[in-house]
């Protein structure tokens, strides 16, 4: 498994997609943090804490996972990949772990950068800054979400296989279906894999002022693991039973 994991990480590092996504994620996250920190008239430490959850890693690492797995079919490299690693479930497990690790690295870079830049701007404007322990609290939540959605992206890519359809599905789920459910059925929405459960882990208040409607971080983590297991099982059955012709 360790050889497969190292190979998948090497694959990630040797295309431009990963570097490009790191750049885009960092730029978008910085844009939101800088604009908010510069333009806001009032800022309490709690607001800043929420601000540093504006790490776009979740979305992009999920897309990267989808691209990394579905891309095997798009570029017709799946045959060579399976010839090199015939155990298809081990292959998918290694890919999930690799993209979880990539999510952690990406989120670490992005979160630490926006925390540094945001704190500098807020302190220069005379606002109270967030305590180091609170920053660490935001950091581990961001890293955990990035790891989980990275693995989930691989599962979605393996199940759907068509890269374009899979990317559109993720975007529609994250930006249309789950936001619509926030208003219509928040009890259902909080279990969503793209925003609902990640919000629980990050303790973001989607459903009310006190945030009591989001899942607890522990429950949300279990829900995310459940989603990953579901996609892994469905994609695994499809991958193992299908002939590669």
């Amino acid at each position: 498994m360790s050889a497969l994991l190292r190979a998948e990480l090497l694959k990630l590092r040797t295309t431009r997609t990963f570097v490009a996504l790191v750049g885009v994620t960092l730029a978008l996250s910085l844009l939101v943090v800088v604009l908010t920190a510069v333009l806001s008239k009032e800022f309490a430490p709690g607001d800043a804490q929420d601000l540093f959850s504006a790490d776009f890693t979740g979305l992009f690492i999920m897309l990267l996972g989808v691209i990394g797995m579905a891309g095997e079919w798009r570029h017709r490299t799946i045959t060579g990949t399976i010839l090199a690693a015939p155990d298809r479930l081990r292959l998918m497990s290694a890919k999930m772990l690799a993209y979880a690790a990539a999510g952690v690295v990406l989120s670490l870079i992005v979160t630490v950068t926006i925390m540094l830049v945001g704190t500098i701007i807020l302190s220069s404007r005379g606002f109270d800054t967030v305590a180091f322990s609170d920053l660490l609290d935001v950091l581990w939540r961001n890293l955990l979400v990035a790891a989980l959605v990275g693995a989930l992206g691989v599962g979605i890519g393996a199940l759907v296989r068509n890269q374009v359809v899979a990317i559109i599905a993720v975007l529609v789920l994250g930006f249309v279906i789950e936001p619509a459910l926030f208003g219509l059925a928040p009890d259902v929405a909080r279990y969503g894999p793209a925003q609902g459960a990640p919000a629980g882990i990050q303790d973001i208040e989607f459903f009310g002022d006190d945030g009591t409607d989001t899942l607890s971080p522990g429950t949300a983590t279990l829900v995310m693991l459940g989603w990953i297991a579901l996609f892994f099982a469905a994609a695994g059955v499809r991958l193992r039973s299908r002939d590669l012709v």
């Binding site: 050889a3 497969l4 190292r6 190979a7 090497l10 694959k11 040797t14 295309t15 431009r16 997609t17 891309g71 570029h75 017709r76 490299t77 045959t79 060579g80 399976i82 010839l83 090199a84 690693a85 015939p86 155990d87 002939d243 590669l244 012709v245």
Partner: protein, 298 residues
């Protein structure tokens, strides 16, 4: 035990029987041509051998183990399939480095195999800009990475220019001379006839001939006898008992490398009445087409 053993292999896709009850071995130190027209079932057979598709019946093994049971498959088997593809954004060297990590091969092998296939100068170029011939060479480099005992090449001359085809012939001969079992599939006999020792000829998923090139196709301008008996089955048995290979050719039998007189003697000894007996000469290509039912017999 032969390095590659295929036994009673069949594969059905829905109502289509793509491969029907194939059995043959591939020997070490020899190049075996796996021949047949397009759609004959060659790629299906190779994919079943490589664990990419599940056989409906039978087995395909390497030293008794299925491909997916091999501990380090790339150290045992190197394969280049017809649709081999690469991530266009990755360089040739990085593509091989990924495979080296997966198969636990040292990185030094990457530069060795790049040199073996003549891609050293293109090692750091992205594969998206490669010609078809360069992609074929990269595929072969990937197959050689683990220094495997068995080399499987599916239509490797597709997309190669004439110098590339000559290079490929030399490569497969060299690999066999180093003791590897080489299986090379093609729908064009002419492209592999000069480099193979043995042939396996299939058509419509069924075995049409298996043995040395001479035995199966009779050699270029070789002697061949076409014969029809009242009881073709008995005559086939008698000829085979006498050590001759026999191929069905419509209502007749085709006996390569044997004179009409010899066939007549065998038939007489067996008490089989002959209806027609005709000595012929033919080219390898004619023999191949006749065997696969793709052209005029002679």
């Amino acid at each position: 035990m032969a390095p590659v053993e295929i036994r009673d292999l069949s594969k059905r896709f829905g109502s289509v029987l793509a491969v029907n009850d194939l059995s043959f071995d591939i020997e070490a130190g020899r190049v075996t041509g796996f021949l047949g027209p397009n759609g004959a079932g060659k790629s299906t057979t190779l994919r079943a051998l490589l664990g990419l598709i599940r056989p409906s019946a039978g087995t395909a093994t390497f030293g008794g183990l299925r491909y997916e049971e091999l501990e380090r498959p790339s150290a045992k088997v190197g394969a280049v399939l017809e649709d081999a593809s690469f991530h266009p954004g990755r360089t040739a060297r990085n593509h091989l480095r990924v495979l080296a990590v997966t198969g636990d091969h040292p990185f030094e092998r990457v530069d060795t195999v790049l040199a073996d296939v003549g891609l050293t100068d293109a090692a750091n170029r992205r594969v998206g800009g490669f010609s078809m011939g360069m992609r074929q060479r990269l595929g072969i480099a990937a197959a050689l990475l683990g220094d495997p005992e068995v080399l499987i090449l599916d239509e490797p001359t597709n997309g190669l220019d004439p110098p590339g085809i000559v290079w490929m012939r030399g490569l497969v001969r060299e690999q066999a001379s180093q003791g590897r079992a080489v299986l090379i599939s093609s729908h064009l006999l002419a492209e592999v006839a000069q480099s193979v020792d043995d042939v396996v000829v299939i058509s419509r998923g069924e075995m049409r001939g298996h043995g040395t090139l001479e035995a199966v196709l009779g050699g270029d301008e070789g002697l061949v006898t076409i014969v029809r008996a009242q009881d073709n089955q008995r005559l086939t048995g008698a000829l085979q008992a006498a050590g001759h290979s026999v191929q069905r050719l419509g209502e007749s039998l085709l006996v390569p490398g044997v004179s009409a007189e010899q066939v007549g003697v065998v038939a007489g000894d067996a008490g089989v009445y002959l209806v027609a007996l005709a000595p012929q000469t033919r080219s390898l290509e004619q023999a191949f087409l006749a065997l696969t039912g793709e052209g005029a017999p002679l």
